[in-house]
Subunit: 335 residues, 2 copies
C-alpha cells in the first residue's frame, strides 16, 4: 500500500518536506512506487530534479493548503482541494493505505475523521504519540483530539493504545496506565474513577491494567500505554517539549561542552517525535500520521517508517477486534 | 515572627528534617528564637546535642503524625495532636507567622484551610510552586489543591500569583499566562474562556495578562505567573520531575562524564523545589510551605528562607488588597 504525503502543510513546507522525501528515496529505504505526493506538481518535479532523482513518485497536484492559523472546518470548506483533504481522498479511494501530514493538526483530524470515518465500534478518535522512557518506547494518548472525553472514550483509547503497543513495539501484554493525580482507584474526577473501574474489569490476556499512574511515572517505564484526556495529554507533551528546549538553551548559554550538548540532544530526542516522525491519529479508518508543524526534513523518513509499520501490522484491524471483544466492559455513559 | 517546623512529616522525617534545621542554625542564617519545632522533644534534643547545638529552638512536643498514605480528614480527626495540626495551631495562636511541613500534602492543605481559614475575599486556596525558566523564576498555580476549579478560582489564583511574584521575585508588573491548549482566546473549555475574559478585563497597573499560553511556553520566560487547574498543574509539575529523573538516570546509564552530570543536575534543579524548598499554599490566613514528601535535609533551609520572605513581604496582606480591588471583575459563577 502506498503512503500519501502532504507536501504543502507545515511551517517549512514544501522545501523541507520534499527534501525529506528525497532523502527517504535516495537512501533506498522507500521506493518511488510506495509514495503519492500531494502538492504543486512543477515544484515537486523541480525539487527532485535538483536532487538528481529521476524516478518521481505519483503526484496528485494541488496548490491549496490549510495554514496553521486557519480554523479547521472553515478552512476545509473554503478549500476543497486542500492538500490534506486530497491526501484523505487518496486513502478513501484506496490509492493509499495511509497518509503523512505536517500541517494544521485540527484540519488533519477533521479531514480524516469526516473523510475516512471511524473504525467499527470506535466512538472518538485520539492522537497517540510514541515516546521513549526507562523501559523503551511507550505511547501516550490522547494528546489533543478530545479535550473533554467521557469514560467510554478513555476506555477505548486504552484498547487502541494496547493494539498499537502490541503491533508497533512488539509488546505481548501491554501495560495500561491511567494518567491521574493520585495512585488510588478513588483519586481524580468521576471521569477517572469510572474509567478505572472499566479498565480493571477489562484487563485480560491481551492487556494488563496497572491502575492510576502519576505524572512523575510517565518516563519511569511502568507502562507501555498512558491514557489521558486530550487537554492533559496535550499539555504534558508540550511541557516536556518546552522543558527540553529550555535545557538545550541553558546548555548553550552556559557554554557547556559539545559532549554535554550532544548527549543532552540525544536524550531529549526521546521526548520529541524524532524517532517516529509524527503522532498517530488512532480510531479513524486509515493510517494517519500527524507531524509537528515545525518539522524539518529529518522528520519525514521516520514518519514514513511509522506509517508503513502501521499499515503492514494492520493495527486498525486489531483495534476493531479489540473494541468488539471488549464491548461488554465498555462504559456506556456517552453524555 | 517565628516559623513552625513540622519535624515528623515526610518520608525521611524526623532525622533529615532535624538535620536540615541544624544546618540552618549552624550556618547562622536562622537563629533558634526564629523557629518552633513540632515533634518528639527527647528526639529533637538528642539530635541537636549530636550536632553540638546548645541553643535549641522552642519545642512543641507531639508524637502523632499523619502518614503519607492516610486520608487527610480522617487522619486529622483521629489524631488531634498530629504534628501538622500543632503547627497550624501555633500559627493560629500567633506563636508563629508561618509553618513548613514536608508530610501528607492533603492533610497540610486541610489542616491549614480549616484551622487558619481563608484570607478575606478568597474563595479557594491554591498551591503555588516556584520554578526557574528562561527569564528567571516564575510561579505555577494551582498544582493540586483544587482539581476542578471554577473561573472565579482561577481568576483569584492569578491575583494571588501576581502578589507572590511582586513580593517574592520583585517583579513590578507580573505577567500572567493562562495555561491552555491553544493560544487564541476561544480555545479550551468554558472554564478557560470565562477566565480569559475576566483576566483581560482585570489587567491593570499591577498585573499584565499575556493571554493563553501553551505547555511548551512554561519554561520560555513569557510569563511570571502561570495559572492552571489543580489537575493539570499537578500533572505538569510531576511530569517535569519525572522527566528530569529520567534524564539523570539516562546520563548515569550512558556513562556520561561528571561534567555532563553536574551541569544537568544544576539545570534540572531549576525544575524541582531545590531553590525554594517547598510549594506555597496561597489563600489561607497564614504562611504555609508544603515540601515534597521525599525532601532531604537540603530542602529545609530554602523552605525556611521562603517562609521568612513571605512573612516579611506580607504577601497575604497584598493578596487581600488585590482581591478586594478586583472584586468588580471577578467572575461570579461559583457552581
Amino acid at each position: 500500500m502506498k503512503i500519501a504525503v502532504d507536501v504543502l502543510g507545515g511551517d517549512f513546507a514544501p522545501d523541507e518536506i520534499l527534501l525529506g522525501v528525497a532523502i527517504a528515496l535516495k537512501g533506498g529505504e522507500f521506493q518511488a512506487e510506495e509514495l503519492v505526493l500531494v502538492g504543486p506538481e512543477a515544484k515537486i518535479r523541480a525539487a527532485f530534479a535538483a536532487q538528481g532523482i529521476t524516478e518521481v513518485p505519483q503526484i496528485l497536484h494541488t496548490e491549496q493548503v490549510i495554514e496553521g492559523h486557519e480554523k479547521p472546518i472553515e478552512g476545509l470548506r473554503a478549500k476543497p482541494q486542500a492538500s490534506v483533504a486530497v491526501c484523505v481522498g487518496a486513502v478513501k479511494q484506496g490509492l493509499a493505505g495511509g497518509l503523512v501530514a505536517f500541517g494544521n493538526t485540527g484540519a488533519t483530524v477533521a479531514a480524516a475523521t469526516m473523510g475516512l470515518g471511524l473504525l467499527s465500534g470506535v466512538r472518538r478518535p485520539g492522537i497517540g504519540v510514541s515516546l521513549t522512557g526507562e523501559s523503551g518506547r511507550f505511547v501516550l494518548l490522547d494528546v489533543g483530539a478530545n479535550p473533554s472525553p467521557k469514560p467510554l472514550h478513555l476506555f477505548q483509547y486504552a484498547l487502541m493504545g494496547a493494539a498499537y503497543a502490541r503491533d508497533l513495539f512488539g509488546v505481548k501484554l501491554p501495560r495500561i496506565g491511567l494518567l491521574n493525580i493520585g495512585g488510588e482507584s478513588t483519586k481524580g474526577t468521576p471521569l477517572f474513577k469510572d474509567t478505572h473501574k472499566a479498565l480493571t474489569a477489562a484487563a485480560d490476556g491481551n492487556m494488563a491494567f496497572v491502575g492510576n499512574v502519576e505524572g512523575n511515572q510517565l518516563f519511569s517505564g511502568c507502562a507501555d500505554v498512558f491514557v489521558s484526556d486530550g487537554f492533559v495529554g496535550n499539555m504534558v507533551l508540550k511541557v516536556v517539549e518546552g522543558f527540553a528546549e529550555y535545557l538545550v538553551h541553558a546548555a548553550n548559554a552556559t557554554g557547556a561542552g559539545e559532549g554535554f550538548k550532544a548527549t543532552l540532544r540525544k536524550k531529549l530526542g526521546a521526548a520529541d517525535f524524532s524517532e517516529v516522525g509524527a503522532a498517530t491519529l488512532l480510531g479513524v479508518n486509515g493510517v494517519v500520521l500527524i507531524g509537528h508543524g515545525r518539522s524539518r526534513a529529518s522528520a519525514v523518513l521516520p514518519a514514513l517508517r511509522t506509517a508503513r509499520a502501521e499499515i503492514r501490522a494492520n493495527v486498525n484491524h486489531h483495534i476493531v477486534e479489540s473494541v468488539a471483544a471488549h464491548g461488554a466492559q465498555t462504559p456506556t455513559q456517552e453524555a
